[in-house]
Amino acid sequence: MIEVKNIQKKFGDKIVIENVSAMMKPGQCNLIIGASGSGKTVLMKCMVGLLTPDQGEICYQGESYFSMSQEQRTSIRKEIGMLFQGSALFDSLTVEQNIMFPLDMFTTDSDSQKLKRVNEVLERVNLKDVNRKFPAELSGGMKKRVALARAVVLNPKYLFCDEPNSGLDPQTSLVIDKLIKDLTVEFNITTVVNTHDMNSVMETGDYILYMYQGKKEWEGTRKDIIFSKNQLLNDFIFASEFLKDAKDMRMLEETGKMPNVRNMDELTRP
């Protein structure tokens, strides 16, 4: 579990995050959403310790990260996996070497054990025959999946994903979302995702934190979003007429006034 307590971060005179608190639970996808420049990435960087907040605490299992000794912080970091917006794969290493890197650095496993683990996670993210390829030879979606494989290769307790769908087509985005969701549930990971992809929000958001101009504007589940009266949130999430219609349909489904047409099994059942 990760607790964010009254985090504040300034760059110069500009307050980028102001008194944000949240509780991210294990086994669920915790989403931080908001427009560009709302402070999502800064908040995530504070959570993983890449930035130090000016005020407030980030607690891992109840222990304040910034009060820990360097050794404790290092051991927490070994339990963190992170999927970066640009994948952040090491250019000079092959896919296999990229994924093997954390194993090389932090385990004493034999080469064959490490290779077995690499192949396991590659299979888990639905990638085949890419072991010898370099990142430059992969598509955007494949890079994201390799980065995800690298992030989970050490079985992390915490998974952070910074805009995992940016630059991907809708179909590949769905695949990445599903992978993140499945891994979260399968390994009971506390997953934190920064996104402004509305599909991700509605499909994977177990807990959603909406940030507006550095402040926490709203929090709740994906179901709560449908019924939320928060104007800023509605304007952000359901920005187009198409999305507004989708919201109305989802609202009717949730209230039972209309059958769930997406559940074909239910509809075709005799």
Partner: protein, 245 residues
């Protein structure tokens, strides 16, 4: 103020490098990789420059020594001492500041901009120790070796050019090389090699590691790293010459 803050941050970077490695074998692998990149990767250009510098020195020295009273062995002596004292350590290191220095700055800059350094930090790896220390250590191992190779090739180039141009016979050249040879000059050149190799590796590492922005900033950082390294090499050259000669 900017200069002082740069110096302070540079010193903190150096201090931050000396942390216990997470896994010694991985650091050893990285050190060997950097030795190959910096040492073997620069060998070709060092060899070419050294041979031609030696050759040009012989021809120009002979051109200026027109008096029949000056023995021909003096040409070899002058070539030997200029190559050992100045050309091999200083000129080669200035070239290496361009070759190895820009590579270090752009590699680290690219890693910073593409969040690869952040990815390493998240894994719990001390990036200053893992990325910068092996580069400085490799430079300090390989560049003095390159300087030694440059000395040998420079003198050989001078001998070759002198013979080919009919200025001096190989025997007389060899005789001149052995005359009044001071081993201290080689020691002095190696001291310069060590100091310059630290500059060549640490200054670009600093500019690359702390780069902010995108591709344009990486280019700027790389250029700045080379310019600052060259100026520092010339400044250190003067200080070392004043102190040690």
């Amino acid at each position: 103020m900017g200069l002082l803050s740069d110096i302070g941050r540079f010193l903190l970077m150096l201090k931050g490098m000396f942390k216990r490695p997470e896994k010694a074998s991985m650091y050893w692998k990285e050190l060997m990789h950097q030795c190959v990149e910096i040492g073997i990767g620069s060998l070709g250009i060092v060899a070419i420059i050294s041979v031609f510098i030696g050759a040009v020195s012989t021809i120009q020295t002979a051109y200026q020594l027109v008096s029949p009273l000056v023995p021909l062995t003096t040409i070899a002596q002058i070539v030997r001492d200029t190559v050992i004292l100045e050309f091999a350590p200083t000129l080669v290191c200035i070239v290496l500041a361009g070759v190895a220095g820009s590579r270090i700055a752009s590699e680290l800059g690219n890693m910073r901009v593409s969040e690869q350094i952040d990815a390493l930090e998240i894994m719990g790896i001390n990036t200053k120790t893992y990325l910068i220390l092996p580069k400085i250590a490799a430079a300090m191992l390989m560049i003095p070796l390159l300087v030694m190779i440059a000395m040998a090739l420079g003198i050989w180039g001078g001998r070759l050019a002198g013979t080919a141009a009919g200025i001096i016979s190989p025997n007389i050249f060899d005789k001149g090389l052995a005359a009044d040879f001071l081993p201290y000059n080689v020691f002095f050149a190696l001291v310069k090699g060590y100091v310059f190799s630290f500059i060549i590796s640490s200054v670009p590492a600093y500019y690359g590691y702390y780069v902010r922005g995108g591709a344009l900033e990486i280019g700027r950082a790389s250029t700045k790293a080379v310019v600052v390294s060259c100026v520092l090499i010339l400044f250190a050259d003067y200080i070392l010459s004043a102190l040690l000669l």
